[in-house]
């Protein structure tokens, strides 16, 4: 997931899902997913996670929305179920984002229980 933040823009700014995380499970198998942000130290099983991208002492908050309950579609081609839905940086966080040479990063761990 990646975003180029424009501090002068109005409204929330979307994070691009470059490659979605997907899961294949046995057909009709109920699967629960939780997410944890290394940057913010926050974990969530609700489908919405408050994460934090960091670079040194600077940070930017963001929101990640994901599917926390999915149903397996079985295996084979085309049976992947996408986990990530969307991500965004709120306007207030973008407006105050500090410019640095380099980038802010976070790692989100998705835990899939089935």
């Amino acid at each position: 997931m990646a975003i180029s933040i424009d501090p002068s823009a109005t409204g929330a700014q979307a994070i691009t899902i470059t490659t979605n995380a997907t899961v294949k499970c046995s057909n009709q198998r109920a699967v629960t997913i939780s997410a944890a942000s290394a940057g913010s130290g926050v974990s969530s099983g609700t489908g919405s996670l408050t994460g934090m991208m960091k670079n040194g002492g600077n940070s930017i908050n963001y929101t990640l929305n994901f599917n926390n309950n999915i149903t397996g579609q079985g295996f084979g081609g085309g049976k992947d179920v996408a986990i990530l839905v969307s991500g965004s940086v709120a306007q207030a966080d973008a407006e105050n984002a500090v410019y640095i040479v380099g980038s802010y990063t976070d790692t989100v761990t998705l835990t899939i229980t089935y």
């Binding site: 933040i5 991500g87 984002a97």
Partner: protein, 163 residues
């Protein structure tokens, strides 16, 4: 009797497989999230300096400044944007914070003036309450004011932010 035993054995195998699925440990997948911040400044409204010169006064006469409203990205360590000012009429340029400009009526007899500004500004980010401070001001020296001819004079100063 043999047929009944075979069916029972198959049922036990299915139950065993189902039990194996229930015991599966959770899977962890890691997703990277990356962001870059654009460094920029934006002026959202222009300003103007106005002055009514009284030739009778014996002191320098200041302009009434109206600051441009501008915002710049916050920068790590307070990295600055530098400002250069240029007077259209005088053709002068300055990045020191003081510019000598020229007010012109179009009928000759221009009035020299001094334009002051902050040569560097620090970005405070965008949004309400965080504009950069241009520190704009200026004045007409008393000697120039005393000999100024009656009329309306103008000049345009272009401020260039480099960041």
């Amino acid at each position: 009797m043999k047929k009944i035993l075979v069916v029972a054995a198959v049922e036990m195998m299915v139950m065993a497989l189902a039990g194996g699925v229930f015991a599966a440990p959770p899977l962890d997948v890691q997703v990277g999230v990356n962001a870059a911040v654009t460094n920029k400044c934006a002026v959202t409204s222009p300003g103007a300096l106005n002055i009514t010169i009284d030739p009778e006064l014996t002191v320098d006469q200041p302009f009434t400044p109206l600051e441009p409203v501008a915002h710049c990205t916050k920068t790590k360590g307070g990295m600055d944007a530098s400002i250069t000012a240029e007077s259209t009429n005088a053709g002068t340029t300055s990045n020191t914070g003081t510019l000598v400009g020229s007010l012109d009526s179009g009928a000759g007899n221009p009035i020299p003036y001094t334009f002051t500004f902050n040569p560097t500004v620090v970005g405070n980010g965008f949004g309400a309450g965080a504009p950069v401070a241009f520190g704009i001001g200026g004045s007409v020296a008393s000697g120039d004011a005393q000999v100024a001819e009656y009329g309306s004079y103008t000049d345009t100063v272009t401020l260039t932010l480099a960041y």
